[in-house]
Point group: C2
Chain length 389, copies 2
């Protein structure tokens, strides 16, 4: 019989997708250039040419049987080695091939990480505001997502509440820095304090607590921002990475799980990812995409537009009296709405063809998200709509 | 804590992979050309040029932001439409976009299909000999795989045992025709009888029983073989397809779920696949691969080598006194071993550098699988080793 669990999910449509659909309809009426669509986190700068060149080179030079052949279930060996080396070069941790599992984007990385370190009934603790997809991602593993209320001063961590909520049933803490939707980057101080509390509690409960670090925005940080590499600060760290934003490749579904070499069970967790993969039908990202990305591990798309847009919007919106915690990275910011109900605020904005997402979606009512991954020229033109609002 | 369920799976290594690894080691000693590796089902003919040309055209002509952008969660609309049209053109069923869910290969297709029509505790019934990965695929959904013993006369269906085992807890029947490992294609008569029994039992139990048809070998059938399109014979059919074998693209992870247009809940099941996808972190096959494959829906790699190899091996091995059900497709055959214990038989073969897989792996002891997706020249040279054996 049809599984009711999934059928029921069909009723709960994504707010973000609905706003985006409205925008597409509206664009047909008044022209796409007149809709200020800040709803979706879709990269707005192209993939580096190097990636395209490598793809064509692979198609021209490799034997098709090798190129399109089965990838080992943990990923192509040379690709895993290259990823490990790049992480070691960049962040100084002794990553080896054995610590890397190639997978199809951050969603897949999280799906494997959650299953590796929880069993049904366990809890995963995360922090508001948070990416709303965490709910179905976690729920469908049989674990439970618990959300620490937001630190509204700076969108760092409310440590008092975190300590209270880090109970014995929690086997993993899930963080996302640079953060969607706030754009905030956790400081070294935050990470150190977080790690300290987790170590203490793990000892108290006599079971490990894993830090699952969701890092699709790792490469998008702004000038002068303190952006610690999280795996360095806590030994049981499982890093979930995606190339979607750094290389502007969201449709090609490519990322990895990297278990910190300091983690005692690192290699076992990676091997387990291969088994989890069988159970959920994942079986590797596309071979050619793995090989092409392995050539771009020290590259990014030209991400400077995001910082530029952030600056323009932050300056103008604060001038207009919006309260905003200044983003340290990503292509999001998360101002306080000008009325208590952010949903009605965003509806008013929609009437000015300004598409914003209410913070309720991210577990943080009263705020709204601006996804400023659009052309700078359009950001500038949108300011008038903000003024009117 | 580490999930013991997956850790335990690490102990149970795949027999096929072990034999393959032995072959790779042996190849280093005596040269790859002297190891007759019949262990792995890896295509041995290249992808059609058309695919490669389309990939390069996409890279050259499309805007990278569109090309590599997010695919909708059910797959790119134009690709789903093209797949539906090709199925309609080829098999006459009224498939529409709404009946197609693009996914990363047959493993992913099955992962979604199983979850859509079972809940933990339900049973899925399949037939020996069967692809061994069905066990972890099903087990990790929480459902139970039950296996109908083989019909040793022709590797069709033992209907008496099937009827007995089709109890009320069974919500899905899983078939694989053309079959791995037997190479057999279910006849129209088999499918009609199977469908008849399923309809009867569904009525008796007052709940639907879905037919999940795993069809990665659909395009590999031999001259004159009766190969009915299964979706035509039973309305609640969920077809799971992969382009891995037909286009020789196993590493690129691309396939689809097609729910028969006759199925009352067809569109709902497809929408549910999108939700299941969120839960298991699947989120679509790579965009560029979707777009390139959509251009090759009426093409295949040159699959004629498989029929040629089948003929040579069947003729020679029956001459040598092996009992074999003549394969109707795929690149497998499944002869009876020359001794009762197929494992020890395959070990003896290994000493002659002939790599075969014992039938025990496929739920059918006493037989062995030959995966003859290798060059014909090598097949011919291997005959001497069979003779000695």
């Amino acid at each position: 019989m049809i599984a009711e669990e999934y059928r029921k999910m069909l009723g709960a449509k994504s707010v973000i997708r609905e706003i985006f659909s409205y925008g597409s309809e509206r664009a047909k009426e008044i022209g796409r250039e007149n809709v200020f669509d800040y709803s979706l986190g879709n990269p707005s700068v192209p993939v580096p040419d190097k990636f395209t060149r490598k793809m064509k080179e692979l198609l021209d030079r490799e034997s098709p049987l090798t190129l399109h052949g089965y990838s080992p279930s943990l990923g192509i060996d040379s690709v895993r080695e290259a990823v490990a080396k790049s992480l070691k070069d960049r962040f100084g941790l002794e990553y080896k091939k054995e610590h890397i599992f190639m997978c199809s984007g951050a969603a897949a990385a999280l799906a494997h990480a959650f299953r590796a370190v929880t069993v049904p009934g366990d809890s995963i603790l995360t922090f508001a505001p948070y990416f709303p997809e965490y709910q179905p991602y976690v729920n469908l593993t049989g674990a439970k997502l618990k959300v620490v209320p937001p630190d509204l001063k700076g969108f760092q961590v409310d440590f008092e509440k975190f300590s209270q909520m880090l109970t014995e049933d929690v086997t993993a803490v899930l963080i996302n820095s640079p953060n969607n939707p706030s754009g905030i980057v956790y400081t070294t101080e935050t990470i150190e304090k977080l790690a300290g509390i987790m170590e203490e509690k793990a000892q108290e409960y006599s079971h490990p607590i894993y830090l699952i670090s969701d890092e699709p925005y790792r490469e998008i940080t702004f000038t002068g921002v303190d952006d610690p590499y999280i795996g360095k600060y806590y030994k049981n760290t499982i890093t979930c990475y995606s190339f979607s934003k750094s290389l502007s490749l969201p449709g090609e579904r490519i990322g990895y799980v990297a278990v910190s070499p300091q983690c005692e069970d690192a290699a076992v967790i990676i091997e387990m990812c291969g088994q989890i993969s069988r159970g959920i039908g994942h079986n590797c990202p596309a071979s050619i995409i793995q090989l092409a990305v392995a050539d771009c591990l020290y590259d990014t798309a030209d991400l400077s537009v995001y910082e530029k847009n952030a600056q323009i919007l932050y300056t103008e919106l604060t001038r207009l009296g919006f309260e905003i915690v200044r983003p340290g990275g990503t292509f999001y910011m998360f101002p306080k709405a000008k009325e208590k109900d952010a949903v009605s605020f965003c509806k008013r904005a929609m009437k000015k063809d300004l598409l914003l997402v209410p913070g309720d979606t991210f577990g943080c009512p009263g705020y709204f998200r601006i996804a400023y991954c659009i052309e700078t020229e359009k950001v500038e033109r949108s300011l008038e709509a903000f003024r009117k609002l």
